[in-house]
Amino acid sequence: MIVGTRKPLAEIQDMLKGFDRILLSGCDTCVAECVAGGRKEVAELAAALRMAFQMAGREVDIRENSVDRQCIHEFLLDVVEQAESAQAVLSLACGAGVQALAAHLPEIPVFPALNTLFIGETAERGLWLENCRGCGDCLLGLTGGICPVTRCAKSLLNGPCGGPKNGLCEINLAREFNPEVPCAWLQIYERLMALGQLDRLMQVARPKDWSQGDAGGPRRVLRPDQRP
């Protein structure tokens, strides 16, 4: 799923300067799971903005709305209808959702309430971890299902480096992490050992074609069988 966090309220208020009718639109999938942009978070932000505008002496009409998936055009019909009476839309979806909504609202500005961070998993309650960078050439089959591109601080394809200590990545020395970051390559080693596949580590990974990832310009997937 896509993980994001809310922008500071002051930044959001600044984006909304000059608009008196605002629609807040959430997305009830990824960003609801990471407690950043689902309907509850829309309600929180709406109440917070009402208070902030009240204190600033501004009369602002704030409406709330949420859809199952803001990145899927079919789900946007409701929002588009409601947005027609708004001067601006504040989207609590990920960057893809914000852009999909904006594409439907050529005359109404759409602002992001979140900073979209990464593709990740809910590791524990209240803890989301980045575990895929969408590199376009997945190595998980070779690494026991643990991504070295994302979870190794140096994105080493042949690891570990010389830095791990007590199972932890040396990035913990650079700044404080809570909980601490494990060495991905030691995790890969343990996982492959458990699977009886340690011999995989004898294969030296070849240089990766990063052009399949975000280094290769905007990516797209085209499926002729699905096209209109």
Binding site: A10, E44, M51
Partner: protein, 165 residues
């Protein structure tokens, strides 16, 4: 003067109003029904002062969501108080602990808004502990008095028309 709180349908216990000329400071209490088996009595205690407000019985303090806290502060309350059980007595095991975390989270929002974080308070009260309840009620009244009208509450810029006891 003896005042009896009355139940307004649902789980709301309204405090009797003392003054009607101008808006009185409003205290809203959301209380776990285990910690506060008789919400009407707290409503009556608060109603004996110069405040208006309501006490809402909750199945557990952890059922109170952050958006509800913020909504109540944005529309109604000058002071909002959540009452739960002591953590070790919580029937939902970690409900009271969760409530504390949520109150902290909501207070961070208040700080961002620029509103006094004390407008949102909480107590953990053992079921049936009258002394603790009386002290919490006194604390609510003291805070509501010292903070005065909530400038972020809708329709009250500058708190015009609000009387401060």
């Amino acid at each position: 003067m003896l005042q009896i709180a009355f139940k307004n349908g649902g789980n709301d216990y309204l405090m009797p109003e003392v003054r009607t000329m101008s808006r009185k400071l409003q205290i809203v209490v959301l209380a776990c029904q285990q910690a506060l088996p008789e919400p009407g009595r707290l409503a009556a205690t608060l109603g004996n002062s110069d405040f208006k407000g309501r006490v809402v019985a909750e199945p557990c303090s952890s059922k109170v969501e952050v958006f509800q806290m913020l909504r109540i502060l944005s529309t109604e309350a000058d002071l909002l108080w959540i009452i739960g059980c002591p953590e070790e007595l919580c029937r939902f095991t970690e409900g009271s602990f969760r409530m504390g975390r949520r109150v902290d989270y909501a207070r961070n929002y208040l700080a961002e808004i620029g509103l006094e974080t004390q407008r949102l308070g909480m107590s953990r009260i053992p079921p049936g502990d009258e002394q603790a309840l009386t002290e919490a009620a006194a604390e609510m009244q003291r805070l509501a008095r010292s903070l005065g009208p909530n400038p972020a509450r809708s329709g009250s810029p500058g708190g015009e028309g609000v009387s401060k006891p």
